[in-house]
């Protein structure tokens, strides 16, 4: 086939995911181009260059050998927790909350790094846990602690969205590790009890307000509900085919807040309509399906959990963001992967993609010979 015309190192790249990603990112760049009033700067060009940069990073991650990754899981986890503590300490010293850590020219958001890291460390933990222990307390308590520490550190930043993402990624990994189903059912019931308590005692005012306004956006049309209302107007007014590229009044006249970051999907929907929205949904479906496929094909427990956890982490971004912009979830500051303008989410998602490509490579190179030890 065509494979003979292309050099092997290029041909063997996982084009099944790179192509959809590139499409999605380019489409995102087009939307950002429009959101900037028909200009490559300041959003679209940096969006594309970041994609190229982080795709390269993902391809580097892809080359990592399994042993090193497995060995590095706990040290990496420890390092990110330290970074999180460092952020807290800096915030404490600086007299204000902060999420960023400036390391020379590099601005690092450790909470973002924690999203893939929690999956990695849990995969490693369950991989090393003797099979017989699954179902016992030793299978859940350490894992719970591994999630709780970073989640707590993030939530006091305060960054509810990221903390939820960490819990969700970690929780799904535990679920996939095969712990008894009744624990999850019980946990669900417990959550149903705790959620109202957490709502009234655990959330900041602005977070509680966001939830309330989500339940009734029109109650505060110019305040917090403004985001949801304007986003729904943008998506709804787009209709089936949209208003046309560059014709979105909601974003161009600044009615839609955060039109290039968290609400980029609404910006897109206004101009491309339902067709554009379903297209984006489809591409995410392809990527996520590929991710779960990689997990299922993976040769061993570590690889499986790692790949599935990474897929779920990406999924969480997509789900929460899209539910938020369509008015199905409260406003939490979570961007849409590969479309929203912003470096840290691009980095996190590319780490997840890179990890998936890495597992995919392990599977292919290990062949079917590699067995579940």
């Amino acid at each position: 086939m065509a494979r003979s015309l292309i050099p092997a190192p290029i041909a063997e790249l996982p084009w099944r995911v790179i192509l959809p990603l590139a499409c999605l990112t380019c489409f995102g760049a087009a939307v950002l181009y429009s959101a900037a009033g028909g200009s490559m700067s300041p959003y679209a060009s940096s969006h594309l260059s970041r994609f190229v940069l982080f795709l390269a990073m993902a391809l580097v991650i892809r080359r990592f050998p399994k042993e090193i990754v497995r060995w590095a899981a706990f040290p990496a986890y420890g390092a990110v927790v330290l970074l999180l503590m460092g952020v807290e300490a800096l915030g404490f010293v600086g007299g204000g909350s902060q999420r960023w850590l400036a390391l020379g020219p590099l601005v690092l958001q450790p909470s973002e790094l924690m999203k893939p890291t929690i999956v990695l460390v849990l995969a490693s933990f369950y991989n090393s846990l003797p099979v017989g222990e699954i179902g016992g307390w030793r299978s859940i308590l350490p894992a719970g602690a591994l999630i709780a520490v970073p989640a707590a550190l993030v939530i006091i930043q305060p960054d509810l969205g990221t903390a939820l993402a960490i819990c969700f990624g970690g929780g799904c990994t535990i679920f996939l590790a095969g712990l008894p189903m009744r624990w999850f059912v019980g946990g669900g019931v417990a959550a149903a009890v705790i959620a109202p308590l957490a709502f009234f005692f655990g959330l900041h005012d602005y977070q509680r307000n966001r939830v309330l306004v989500f339940l009734d956006p029109e109650s505060d049309p110019l305040g917090t509900g403004y985001h949801i209302t304007q986003s729904k107007i943008a998506i709804g007014s787009g209709g089936i085919l949209g208003k046309g590229f560059g014709n979105g009044s909601q974003s161009h006249l600044n009615y839609l807040p955060e039109s290039h970051t968290d609400f980029v999907f609404a910006t897109m929907s206004e101009e491309w309509g339902l067709v554009g929205g379903l297209g984006v949904l489809l591409v995410f479906g392809i990527i996520l399906r590929w991710g779960l496929g990689v997990a299922r094909r993976a040769p061993d427990r570590f690889s499986q959990l790692l790949a599935a956890g990474m897929t779920v982490t990406i999924f969480f971004y997509v789900m929460i963001n899209l539910m938020m912009v369509t008015g199905l979830a409260p406003v939490v500051g979570i961007p849409l992967p590969f479309m929203s303008h912003g470096g840290s989410s691009m980095m996190t998602n590319m780490i997840c993609i890179g990890t998936l490509m890495m597992v995919d490579r392990w599977t292919k190179e290990g062949g079917s010979s590699s067995s579940f030890s």
Binding site: I235, G239, L253, Y255, L288, R301
Partner: protein
């Protein structure tokens, strides 16, 4: 659950990964359905909302209808204008923006203080005027800096203009931005559109709905922060309808300016139709500057002025009419059987019981005509005493005193025509013969407004029951016929003719216009018992000066009443004004030439004098003048100025005396002391 093995775990992983995949797919479907719902089912709704976001409808304040005088000349018009308003709720940093506007528009400290006062009082949605009548450069200077001045609205439009300024203030009222109360009453967007003014007083308020017109609208595409991206389309405003008054604009202006530095009112009525030609009261505020809101300095000027500029003296000033009621009394005597030829000897006063009422002079033997000519009190005392004042009072009412008239936007006061029943009701006291004597010469309890006296003069002059009207082309139908025969009227006319053209009290105010003659009657209404009559003493203590007249004598066309508060003798203050105003009706050039000369000695026309006074006040008080508390305070002040008019009500009860130009001691009379603080104690019988 059995023992876990690697195989069961792998199996479990696969199952659970499919479960997660299923959940993902389900959420994907949910999202797709949600998008479809928003974009298809609710598309119309959101399309409209997006459109109402995008398109901003700005109302264009309609041009206000003109107010025209009888000749079609504007008393109130509009002029093209560059203006700047502030919408307080859109301000971001009020302090900084006001200061920046102050620099751009070169406002004085006083103006900036006034602006801050207005901002402090305004509710968020009410636009506050910063400045109007700007030149293009200042307007442009603000316009280009709009991005740094959120909430500031520069626009070109039209603003109300009163060409003769203070001369028409009381008559027309003024316009201003809607107050919070007015907006509550009439909850439409136009009222909070920057630049829109509604009538606040007088005719402007009465006919507001007619004058207002319909707003135009400009559709523009705007950003979320309110910046205009481009204009979409514009609908022109529909100007308000004009209204036309019976007022003679030039005469109104002349009369107002002729008043000069006095506190006075002039009313001129057309003897053929009852149309009001002039309704002047001075001093007055300038409605041109009132339209921009009342500043601190202006407020202090108005409050400090003992001439009470906020009171429309022509209809709300009440004064004892003094001897101007003698023509009225002469008609009342005739229909009660007194022969005009019967003579009375005036020995210098009138003896009633053990009291002696002193006349101004020893007039000797006089008939009715002579008694009017020389304003002899003794004649009227003795004759009214004979027929009884209770028979004079109905004639006074018949001739228009003690009544209000249906005049749009003109808030009047009744005044008083006393009779026994009234006194019992009001003071719970019996009517005395002295009360009748006082009332007979327009003192005691009698109180009238200049409008009423002008109407009385018009009715006496024409012999018809005229009703005053203000809207041109809509004269009021005549009332029931007056019961006077032409012969009876001729006697009264004759007496009034001799007042001016014979050896009467106003001989100095004879008209100098061709062969046109004027008939009239002086009046000097005593304010309080004085050691000496007429002038001298402090201003507040001096008598009110009256003059009523009509011309031409033989075929009355115009009737007039003039009052000069504390002007002294009727002949010396009021009559000269009446003479000049009457001259203006027949020979305007001559009258105006004379007025221009007089104004040179007064410091120019009223608007110029006010500007000069403002300058002095601003220099003296600056921003330290007390603050105005909005519309409410102005309204309150207007009603307070009635109360500030105690001279009219309380001093009328003092003594009766008349305006002979001779010096004579006032005749003390038994005055009911009523509630008069100013009033002197009752005179002792002599």
């Amino acid at each position: 659950m059995g023992q876990n093995t690697a195989a069961t775990l792998r199996h479990s992983f696969t199952r659970r990964s499919f479960l997660i995949g299923g959940v993902q797919g389900g959420i994907g479907l949910l999202l797709a359905a949600r998008m479809g719902y928003l974009a298809v089912a609710e598309n119309e709704k959101y399309k409209m909302q997006a459109e109402s976001n995008r398109v901003n409808l700005t109302l264009i304040p309609p041009r206000r209808g003109w107010i025209l005088d009888r000749a079609g000349q504007p008393l109130a018009s509009n002029r093209a204008d560059f203006r700047v308003d502030i919408v307080p709720e859109r301000l971001q940093d009020a302090e900084r923006e006001v200061d920046q506007l102050g620099q751009l528009l070169q406002l004085t400290a006083v103006q900036i203080q006034d602006l801050k006062d207005k901002l402090a009082d305004a509710r968020g949605f009410q636009p506050v005027e910063v400045a109007s009548g700007l030149d293009y450069d200042k307007f442009a200077a603000v316009s280009v800096r709009l991005p740094e001045l959120p909430g500031v609205v520069p626009q070109r439009g039209f603003s109300r203009y009163y060409p003769s300024g203070p001369s028409v203030g009381h008559l027309l009222g003024y316009v201003g931005a809607a107050s919070a109360k007015e907006y509550e009453k009439e909850h439409i967007p136009l009222l909070v559109t920057p630049g829109f003014k509604l009538g606040k007083d007088g005719l402007e308020k009465e006919y507001d709905q007619i004058l207002r017109g319909k707003p135009g609208a400009r559709r523009a595409e705007v950003t979320a922060s309110g910046e205009i991206v481009r204009d979409l389309d514009t609908r022109e405003d529909t100007p308000g309808q004009s209204i036309r008054l019976t007022i003679d604009g030039a005469l109104q202006d002349f009369a107002s300016r002729r008043i000069g530095l006095q506190s006075a009112a002039v009313v001129v009525i057309d003897c053929q139709t009852g149309g009001i030609l002039t309704l002047a009261s001075m001093p007055c505020f300038d409605p041109n500057t009132f339209a921009n809101g009342i500043g601190r300095i202006e407020w202090k000027m108005l409050n400090d002025d003992d001439h009470i500029p906020l009171l429309n003296k022509a209809v709300r000033g009440l004064y004892p009419p003094g001897s101007t009621v003698k023509p009225l009394a002469s008609l009342a005597l005739q229909i009660n059987g007194v022969s005009p030829d019967e003579k009375v000897n005036c020995p210098g006063g009138y003896q009633l019981g053990n009291r002696f009422f002193r006349c101004d002079a020893r007039h000797g033997v006089l008939d009715m005509r002579g008694a009017i000519e020389h304003s002899c009190n003794t004649y009227f005392w003795s004759m009214v005493h004979r027929v009884g004042y209770e028979n004079v009072a109905p004639v006074a009412k018949m001739l228009g005193l003690g009544q209000e008239y249906d005049l749009p936007g003109i808030n009047q006061r009744y005044g008083t025509v006393p009779d026994p029943e009234w006194k019992m009701r009001r003071y719970n006291q019996e009517w005395t013969a002295s009360d009748g004597l006082n009332a007979a010469i327009g003192q005691g309890y009698v109180l009238v407004s200049p409008l009423q006296l002008a109407l009385m003069t018009a009715r006496i002059a024409s012999g018809r029951d005229l009703l005053p009207s203000l809207m041109f082309g809509h004269p009021k139908p005549l009332g029931p016929a007056l019961p006077f025969t032409p012969e009876q009227l001729a006697v009264t006319h004759d007496g009034m003719f001799r007042v001016v053209n014979g050896s009467g009290t106003a001989a100095a105010s004879r008209l100098n216009v061709g062969n046109i003659t004027m008939s009239g009657k002086t009046g000097t209404a005593q304010v309080r018992k004085l050691i000496s009559r007429g002038g001298g003493g402090d201003w507040k203590g001096r008598d009110h000066s009256w003059f009523i007249c009509f011309a031409p004598s033989e075929a009355p066309r115009y009737a007039m009443a003039v009052v000069v508060e504390h002007g002294g003798f009727g002949a010396s203050a009021a009559a000269p004004i009446a003479k000049d105003v009457m001259t203006c009706l027949f020979d305007p050039q001559k009258a105006w030439a004379g007025l221009i000369e007089m104004e040179k000695t007064w410091g120019g026309p009223p608007a110029q004098r006010m500007a000069e006074k403002y300058r002095v006040y601003a220099a003296q008080y600056g921003v330290s003048a007390p603050k105005v508390d909005g519309d409410a305070a102005v309204e309150e002040a207007m009603s307070r100025s009635e109360g500030n008019e105690p001279q009219a009500q309380t001093t009328g009860v003092v003594t009766g005396a008349e305006s002979g130009e001779t010096q004579a001691a006032p005749a003390p009379s038994p005055a009911p002391s009523a509630d008069a603080k100013d009033a002197a104690p009752s005179g002792a019988p002599q």
